[in-house]
Symmetry: C2
Subunit: 220 residues, 2 copies
């Protein structure tokens, strides 16, 4: 099997993405610390998922520049994390985040001679400009022109057309270990249940009338 | 004047690029440390150039992931720096380097509300896949799709069609401060005069029958 680099935040989307990629590829897991509020909890989830999928090639890199650059409530503690829906691009948008994460993934993939980089982006988050299909397509064009001639690798975003309920359905079919994941933007012990990320996740489980296996501070 | 982010390594190309951008933009200088061999010397050149161009917005970021990922003689001290021409992509190629540098530049530009990111890439180095015009064009497409709808910024590579002699000619016309720059891949006090980067630079000055103002270990 050829190798694929999987961008693994430790959340539900990257868990299902890894389960999909595992059917066709040997997995190499890449995690980025960008001094987000829940950095330690996410790293713990990353390693638990890597253990589950028996992944030996793991790379954790610090991308502190995202905090130096700022501009997002996820990395700037002076900005509040929203709990109500925002119009336009949300304050949690980290400028050009997916482009930067994919760039690191492609560099590592080129060294590993991998043929794919998987990312769990999906259009339900399309208020984020870098979570849309057209962004992934444009990124692939750019990768073709910017890597060695002998490098042939594709960005794969298998969840791109799904909503959270669809992602959970896919994960249930693949027996993805939801219990090992972490999604909350605010809290590291019990998920807050109120931030935008918790709300989307809880809404996805509710659509299937099943219980989210991770602990919450209060029932949503 | 609108703002432009300039990728400034401290070398000759970024010096001339800054001189070009200064005619139309307020400058914001971005420098990346990737634990390359001559990191300290390059940072000194970066700050000297920023002083010369009277730039107050300076951002220096560590991109240690390039060394973690490896795959290039520029960041892996186990690999020798070549002094003779190599066929194909040179060993000094850092995987997907320009894509990663531009990604950080675009993120900062989006926060600064800048309308351009300038890079000194040029096709003479086209053995590097990410120094070609088609790469810059594909990158621009990707930026359009991956940033906020209200963000309108372009990657500008004004040296793309020039060779080293053409870049030096352009710099002479703009009175670019060549004496403040550093290009050598190997040495931090006197340039080695033998590495691929020194050779290209010396060849460019020789084409104009003028002396390179920086000190060399030996006459080339």
């Amino acid at each position: 099997m050829s190798t694929a680099v999987i961008l693994v935040s430790g959340g539900l989307d990257s868990c299902v993405t890894a389960a999909i990629a595992a059917r066709t590829h040997e997995l190499a897991f890449l995690h980025l610390n960008y001094q987000q509020r829940t950095q330690e909890r996410e790293l713990r989830a990353f390693n638990a998922l890597a253990d589950h999928f028996d992944v030996s090639q793991r790379l954790v890199v610090d991308v502190g520049f995202m905090q130096q650059i700022g501009g997002s409530s996820l990395v700037d503690s002076a900005l509040p994390i929203p709990t109500v829906e925002e119009s336009g691009v949300p304050s949690t948008y980290v400028p050009f985040r997916n482009a930067n994460l994919l760039g690191i993934g492609v560099a590592w993939a080129e060294v590993l001679n991998a043929d794919a980089v998987f990312i769990g982006a999906h259009q339900e988050e399309s208020a984020y400009p870098d979570c849309r299909r057209e962004f992934i397509e444009a990124y692939n064009q750019m990768v073709d022109t910017g890597t060695r001639p002998e490098t042939h690798l594709r960005i794969s975003a298998p969840l791109i057309a799904l909503d959270k309920a669809g992602i959970i359905k896919e994960g249930l079919q693949l027996q993805a270990p939801f219990n090992l994941t972490w999604s909350c933007y605010k809290s590291e012990d019990m998920a807050c249940g109120r931030c935008a990320s918790c709300r989307m996740r809880l809404g996805g489980f509710a659509a299937h009338h099943i219980q989210d296996p991770i602990p919450y501070q209060r029932e949503a």
